[in-house]
């Protein structure tokens, strides 16, 4: 393994001083590309190489990497076991909407170096490493399904987001799986709360619209049948 790493060129950001972006040639991987490619493409390629290199030398098959795999499996299994199978529709609606937001927050947070995951499950997107962010949609979708009324949902959401941001995240940081760079646990808490209520609002609205529209459709059908007889 180390031999492969030695052959890869070393990457230094100092070799990329503040060049003006725009038209110039560069390397993508180890291939020279013609000019006209933006500098960001070049930098992205180097960064991905660095991520893969670090992942190969430090992360993969390391004890922390196995812990990540184990925790992820447990998380998804727990979600499936806790899922009320008679109301899959509600939970899945919440889940898919929350996953889109989660992916956006996760990637943007990494791009703006707000936080970092020192150990990667896989060195490229999607970020399966972020146990804290993955558990947000999973746990909240179960809460959404179990507690249709706002009062109990609020209690559940506050407890869940508090546990994730003030217990799980410090634990992950302690274990070397998460690192706050330009971020604080309190920010996490508020962002998660925002997700909890924003997605609930959207999901409730969609369910309401569907029910209303179905009732209208049924009424029309009944009326048509009455006229027929």
């Amino acid at each position: 393994m180390p031999q492969i790493i030695k052959e890869l060129p070393s990457i230094k950001s100092s070799t990329y001083p503040n060049r003006l972006p725009g038209i110039h040639g560069g390397f993508v991987g180890d291939k020279m590309v013609p000019s006209g490619i933006p500098q960001s493409v070049d930098l992205q390629s180097k960064l991905t190489q660095l991520h893969i290199q670090e992942w190969l030398t430090e992360d993969v098959f390391h004890i922390r990497w196995w812990i990540l795999i184990g925790s992820l499996t447990v998380l998804f299994l727990a979600w499936y076991l806790l899922l009320d199978k008679t109301k899959k529709k509600e939970a899945c609606l919440f889940l898919v909407l929350a996953i889109i937001i989660e992916l956006g927050i996760d990637e943007d947070g990494e791009e703006l170096i707000l936080w970092e995951y020192p150990t990667d499950l896989i060195p490229i997107f999607p970020p399966l490493t972020s146990l804290n962010l993955i558990s947000v949609p999973l746990s909240l979708s179960i809460a959404f399904q179990r507690y249709p009324d706002l009062k109990r949902y609020t209690a559940a959401a506050v407890i869940i987001t508090a546990v994730i941001s003030f217990v799980l995240e410090p634990l992950l940081a302690l274990g070397g799986l998460y690192e706050l760079v330009n971020w604080q646990y309190v920010y996490s808490f508020f962002v998660y709360l925002l997700i909890a209520f924003g997605i609930r609002f959207a999901a409730k609205k969609l369910l309401e619209i569907e029910n209303k529209s179905r009732r209208l459709g049924q009424n029309k059908k009944e009326r048509a049948e009455d006229e027929h007889y």
Partner: protein, 196 residues
């Protein structure tokens, strides 16, 4: 671990630790934002994308059958998840890149990913209920995406392929539609059984 923090070069709010991956990441993000400010924002292509985004977002809402809105939302959201994951992967692996975007950060090529493509997928899903018709419609759609839309985007100058060919995308466009429909069917499976 001792952290020697130094201030970001352009934005002082962000502190950049002296570690290679974080420094490179911040370099990249800053370069993206600079490039976006210089040659994308308020340019003609940017306005096209913004208008496209607004129109397709409205169509997405108007065209969806309200009596099936939950099912349609789940299907469309799964498509969005697949598309943004694949697009970001292609971006990270330097398979292709886009030279215009509404925002400089993730997700890439926002208008096409979040509204345009999902709109087309949703209309097909809504219109063609049976697997046979759905598959034929999806195959036609994938062909149009690969051999009409992609060349147009390349020609306009929004999309550049580095280590990629349009034909590679064909099975992917098709597979994500089939996978999303299978997932939705699995979510709705119990209810159908109980009805029967």
């Amino acid at each position: 671990m001792a952290k020697t923090r130094k201030k970001g070069q352009k934005m002082n709010i962000i502190k950049v630790p002296a570690r290679q991956n974080l420094k490179d990441q911040w370099d990249l993000t800053q370069t993206r934002i600079t490039e976006w400010l210089q040659s994308e924002l308020f340019h003609f292509r940017w306005w096209i994308l913004l208008v496209l985004f607004c129109i397709t977002a409205i169509l997405l809402w108007k065209k969806a059958e309200k009596s099936r809105i939950v099912e349609l939302t789940i299907f469309t959201a799964i498509i969005v998840i697949f598309v943004i994951i694949l697009d970001e992967l292609g971006d990270e692996l330097s398979l292709w890149y886009y030279s215009a975007d509404i925002i400089p950060l993730f997700p890439p090529i926002t208008a096409i990913n979040i509204t345009c493509m999902p709109l087309i997928y949703m209309l097909i899903y809504q219109r063609f209920g049976t697997w046979g018709k759905f598959i034929i419609a999806t195959l036609i759609m994938a062909t149009v995406f690969c051999f009409v839309f992609e060349p147009i985007f390349v020609w306009i100058g929004i999309y550049t392929m580095l280590k990629w060919k349009s034909i590679y995308g064909f099975p992917i466009y098709f597979a994500i539609a089939v996978a999303a429909k299978m997932i939705v069917n699995a979510i709705y499976s119990d209810k159908e059984k109980r009805k029967a």
